[in-house]
Every structure is written in structure tokens, then in C-alpha cells.
């Protein structure tokens, strides 16, 4: 049962990380355009070129064995931060692109011009003026991020490159139960069903939220399947 705590923690933390990174990158790229946009967009394209699961697996394997050291910060291979960072990072392009598209169209609106005319700096415009207009998109993406992150965590842990012993999650339980699937299928099926139910409730919640906040109901499915933004916003 404690495994569920890990699964939920990773789902939320990773989605939060994705949201944060994607929002900042999307705002920067969409507002500054020019060079900043080119650099950020190309970098996202490269990450986009990897199949999500393969990229996460590669990172998971590389970091699970050696751990991670950034400056003074050291994370051991079994730290829960590692799956959170990995899952948070791989979904960034799928969220940053639509946000960038939205910022591109928002920045042409009069209220941005008005703020600039009053002498507001770029930071002020981005976070004071543009961000509040993005909230509904961000919240919708966040709930979907939670659902997708939990699914990816489960898959990584199932494959042995997500949550590492001594920690457990529903995914690792499914993975270890799979070894005994012929004799005791419930060991694997029950945690699997828990994942299904949790993700399902997050998705249903997200659906409701989307209907309430966002009239353009297509957004959700686009991010899930990784569809590029519609032509026109990109130009």
C-alpha cells in the first residue's frame, strides 16, 4: 500500500516540474522570439525526436547505476528524485510547444502593448501579464501531466529503471509480481489495477476541469499523443 504513496508523489512532482519548465521555456520562446526562440525550439525538437519511453529508459538506466552529481548536489542511484527528474524532463517539449504557440498569439494583443507602453520590463510582461492568461491551459496540462507521469513511472519501474530498491511503487510491485504471474497473478494484477484506477480518476477529473476551463477541448488529446501544434500558430 505504501507503494501508492511513491507513485502519487512521483506523478505529482514530475508533473509539477514539467509544468514549471515548460511554462518558463514557452514564455521565453514565445515572448522574445528571434534567437531565444530558435535556440529553445531547436533544443525541444531534439528531445521531441526521441520516443518518450526510450529516452526515459536511457536516462533511467544511466542514472540508476551511477547516480547524479550536479555541483555540490549528489543524488544516489536509488533516490526518488531521479525518476522525478527524468519523467519531468521528457514531457517538457509536449507542453512547452503549445504554450509557446499560445504566447505567440497573446503577445500581439493590446494589453501587452499597453503594459509595454507603461514601461513594464520583459519579466513583468511575461509573468505579470501573459502568465495569468495561460492559467487555464497550464492547469489542464498539469492534470494530464500527472496521469501521464504516473503511467510512465509505472512503466519505468516495471522495467526496473524507475524507482529503485529499497523504495517501492506500484510499478515495481507489478514488475516483481510479473515473475510469478503463472502461479500468483494477483501479485501483479492488483497493483496494476490500482494504477489504472488512479490514472483513470485523474483523467476523468482532468476532463471535467477542461470542460469547465477550456472551450477548445482538443488540447488534452494532443498533448497525450504528442501531436504537433496546428499549422498557423507556428508561423
Amino acid at each position: 500500500m505504501y507503494g501508492g504513496r511513491t507513485s502519487l508523489l512521483i506523478g505529482f512532482a514530475a508533473a509539477l516540474l514539467t509544468t514549471l519548465l515548460a511554462t518558463v521555456l514557452g514564455l521565453l520562446a514565445g515572448y522574445h522570439r528571434g534567437w531565444t526562440d530558435a535556440v529553445i525550439s531547436r533544443a525541444l525538437d531534439v528531445v521531441w525526436a526521441f520516443p518518450v519511453t526510450l529516452l526515459a529508459i536511457a536516462l533511467g538506466l544511466a542514472l540508476a547505476v551511477g547516480g547524479l552529481r550536479i555541483g555540490p548536489l549528489h543524488l544516489s542511484g536509488s533516490s526518488l528524485w531521479i525518476p522525478i527528474l527524468i519523467i519531468g524532463a521528457v514531457y517538457v517539449p509536449y507542453m512547452a510547444r503549445p504554450i509557446r504557440g499560445e504566447v505567440l498569439s497573446l503577445r500581439e494583443k493590446e494589453f501587452v502593448e499597453a503594459a509595454e507602453a507603461q514601461g513594464a520590463g520583459p519579466l513583468r510582461v511575461m509573468f505579470g501579464e501573459l502568465l495569468p492568461n495561460l492559467w487555464s491551459t497550464i492547469i489542464v496540462f498539469f492534470t494530464l501531466g500527472v496521469a501521464n507521469s504516473m503511467l510512465l513511472e509505472a512503466m519505468l519501474s516495471f522495467l526496473g529503471v524507475g524507482v529503485q530498491a529499497p523504495e517501492t511503487s506500484w510499478g515495481t510491485m507489478v514488475g516483481s509480481g510479473f515473475q510469478l504471474i503463472t502461479s500468483a497473478p494477483q501479485l501483479s494484477l492488483i497493483p496494476g489495477a490500482m494504477i489504472l484506477l488512479t490514472v483513470l480518476s485523474v483523467n476523468v477529473f482532468g476532463d471535467g476541469l477542461r470542460d469547465a476551463l477550456d472551450p477548445r477541448s482538443k488540447l488534452r488529446l494532443e498533448v497525450h499523443a504528442g501531436m504537433p501544434e496546428p499549422e498557423g500558430t507556428a508561423v
Binding site: 509505472a154 510479473f178 503463472t182 488529446l221
Partner: protein, 318 residues
Amino acid sequence: MGRFVVKRLGGMVAVLFAVSILTFLIFNVIPSSDPAQRMAGKNATPRLVASISEEWGFDESLPQQYLTMMKKIFSGEVISYEGREDVDERILEGVGPTFSLCIGAAVLWMFFGVLFGYLSATRAGGLLDRVLTIVAVAGISMPVFLIGEILLVYLTYKTGILPSGGYVELAENPLEWAEHLILPWVTLAIVYVGIYSRVLRSNMLDAMGEDYVRTARAKGLSERRVMSRHVMRNSLVPIVTLFGLDFGALLGGAIVVEAIFSLNGIGEYAYISLINTDLPPIMAIVLFGAFFVVLFNALVDIAYAYLDPRVKLGESAR
């Protein structure tokens, strides 16, 4: 048109180059431990570590290390440390099962995705629509391994209706080939049927509100003709894009499905290598997978420009 294709393929090469650099960084630079130590696996002898370090040139500069890695992968010299196999050869062997799995599953999910999407869009708000929506959301929320395990337990172990896995060459015995692949096909397709039917449904609902649909109706066209010629034709375009992207990503390895049904394709090879923490195969498979995503991305773009000249204009105006 020709210029666009050339440009797009040039972009593809550039992205692939960046992808290979990122892969190199992931495996050799970002983690804090000695890469040779990691590559040698969990119970490595100091001698093995030293020989790996020598072989991959880990004591040289980073660009030099990168060149060594790429040279090895392209010349087919990558050897796994668990079992000492030739990685490139093993990947090529896995192409048959993996392609069979992906193509079969793709046929299934396109058919049912379009069927369900069409049904729920034309009956939006009705009972059938609601049932299909619930089914689709459940499919999207389903962890792949859970579907696989349920099918495996109930259709194979408990009842013995279908074989539990393995792969039979198509040329050897087409009937057994299909029999062994039914469960993996269904497993893989369920998730995508959910996504595709929902995307198609919302696209169709959007299209039905467009002026040209009203015009078509006003002209007195039959409902059937309006649907097939006007609504469907426009709603299917994004589905085709999605399909190209998803299919490319799939070919790189439907790892979980192959692992559960021991299909002996690229995905299962990745799974086995993961269990053994065998890095060289994973490195090669990641590059292989990224190659297909990039390839299909480019193909989709080119197909688009062919079908819709406006895309090409948008590209050059950028």
C-alpha cells in the same frame, strides 16, 4: 516540391546528429560514475573495466569519445558485455518481430479508432457516444502491462486458448504467426484506439460546425455524402499526422508488450539488456528508435506538403 524535400531531409540529418550527441551525453557525461565501470555491469572485474575504458577511449577528450562511439555503431562493432553478442546484428534480427507487431497493431487501432470516433461523433451526446467515451478514457488510462497481463492470465494460463508468447516467422507458418501475435496486437492497440477515437471525435465535431458543411447540407447533399466527403476528409488529416508520429515511435520498441509476450524483437532485446544493465545495446536501440521517429516526422511533413500546398508556403515564410 523537390526543394522542400531536400530541405526537410537536410533538417532530418541535423536533428539526427543532435540526437546522437544527446545520446552520447546521456550515457557518458551526465552520470557521475566512471562510464567504463557502468558499462561493465554490476559485477565487473578491474581488468574488464580497464579494457572497456581502452576500447571506447574513455581517457580521451569528449569529442574523440563521441567519434569512437559513432564509428563503432555504424561499423557494427558494438559488442554487448552480457553474452558478448554483436548488437547491430541482434537488432536487425529483432526487426521482423517488431515490425510484425507494430504493423498489425497499427491496422487494428486505425480501424477501431476511426470506427469508434466516427460512431461517437455522429451520435454525439447519445448513449453510444457516452459508452464509447468511457471506454476510450479507460483505454487511455490503462498501463500497457496491465492489459497484457490480464490477457495473458485469462486467455492463456487459465484457458489455454492462445499461445503465451514467442514468435514464429511469417514465411514459416502464417497461421501460427498470426496466432502468436493476436494478444500483443490487441494489447498494443487498446491504448491507441482510445486516443484516436477521441481525437477523431473532437475533430469531426469541430468540422461539423464549419460553414462548408452547412453549405454542403444546403446544397441538398445526402447526410452520408456530407459526412464522407466533407467532414471525414478534413478530420482525418490530423489523424494521419498522429499516426506517422506514433508509428515511428513504436518501431523503436514496444518494449513492455514485447517483454510480456517474449516476442524476441527489438523491444524484448532492450528489456533483457535493461535487466542485465547492459549499456551498449540500449545505446544502439535508443539511436535506432530516434532514427525512426525522425524519419517518420520527415515523411509526414513531406506527405503533407504534397497534399496541402499551404504547408510548404508556411515553411518558406518562416
